[in-house]
Amino acid sequence: MGGDYAPEEIVKGAVLAAQKDDVEIFLVGTASVLERELAKHKFAANGSSIHIVGASEFIKENESPVDVIRRKPDCSVAVAAKMVKSGEADALFSAGSSGAAAISAIQFIGMLEGVYRPAIVGSLGSFAANTVMVDLGANVDCKPHQFLTFAIAGSVYAKKFLNIADPKIALLSTGSEETKGNEAVREAYSLLKNSGLNFIGNIEGGDILNGKANVIVCDGFVGNVLLKFYESIGGRAQAWTERKLKRYPPIRALAGLLFKRLFPATKISNETEKQSGGILWGIDGVVKIAHGASRAPQIANAIESAKEAVKAGVVESLKSELARLNQGGKL
């Protein structure tokens, strides 16, 4: 039961999700707090139900996420992960510490065969509708073989959610030549080249938005910096345009209207409002994490999209792609 606005917004979001859709939700955390919060809301069941599962501990923001494993194995996110492992729940969602959620998932749900660590895949939205990027921040330091599993996860995402039959995969680097990039990227190039995947080689930053690749692979450090830069573009473009047009009020008003109606800043360069975080790809179950600052509507969206991911069978698809490569000894 983590998140900047927990438990109020989380419970409110769960109620919203239950009202919208037929879904069974387990709220995991301090039972008395959750009962009190849930009692504030009335919702028509609509085939849905909300249950409370007690957990005595939680991971605080200043605690190391690794503590989940040895010091707090009964904290709320760990309890939720164990429910996925046992089959009591189909998916885990958390707006709390992303690290704690990831580590709980790794330790208590487990990784798919051939995957070292989970990754976050995200679509680039309006500017590059047919492109996804992976990893967006789950792995700051990466080993070369991780890039290969990132490519597979991105490829499954592009097939499932963007309907691209044979996604083109590229490695983000400082030049198109095989010899460009840091040591991990250069080693990853060789692994991807021999993987049998639809690998088109390296691309540079300037190619990210031009549709050259459907899956752009990078480490989580680069991916997270790029994601946040990208997300900031819409708002900055709006602010810059309005400032430049300050002396021309009618045109400025028109520009404001355009940004508001036709090109809302959040839609120009990100869709996180709708997507509300991301799935941890590579875990043997659906695990969705969201920004800590998510409010009830984003929480409800995240619960809905976790349900969609379960229905779409994303874990099974990734598992079978991994198995195919494993058979060829590529992983």
């Binding site: 494993i69 070292y116 330091d141």
Partner: protein, 81 residues
């Protein structure tokens, strides 16, 4: 399989490095094991050998050899063979 080989297998599986590069002198950094790898290895070793390794003891391990020596000192003699 002796204690050292068993721990080497665990560490190699978790970190996904070739076990041949792990020697008693190897530091966790050299094996490219991050804090999660180390904690996962500790848990796996605890489960494998039925022992508990307190954090204050684990923090003293400077290299793989320290880890192995510690476990060897805690595991009943018959299991070392």
């Amino acid at each position: 399989m002796n204690v050292e080989e068993q721990i080497k297998d665990i560490l190699a599986r978790i970190t996904r490095v070739d076990k041949s590069i792990i020697s008693r002198q190897s530091t966790f950094k050299e094996i490219k094991a991050d804090s999660l790898d180390v904690v996962q290895a500790l848990v796996a070793v605890e489960e494998t050998f039925g022992i508990e390794i307190p954090d204050e003891d684990a923090q003293k391990f400077q290299n793989f050899g320290d880890f192995v020596s510690y476990v060897e000192s805690r595991v009943p003699q018959k299991e070392k063979v």
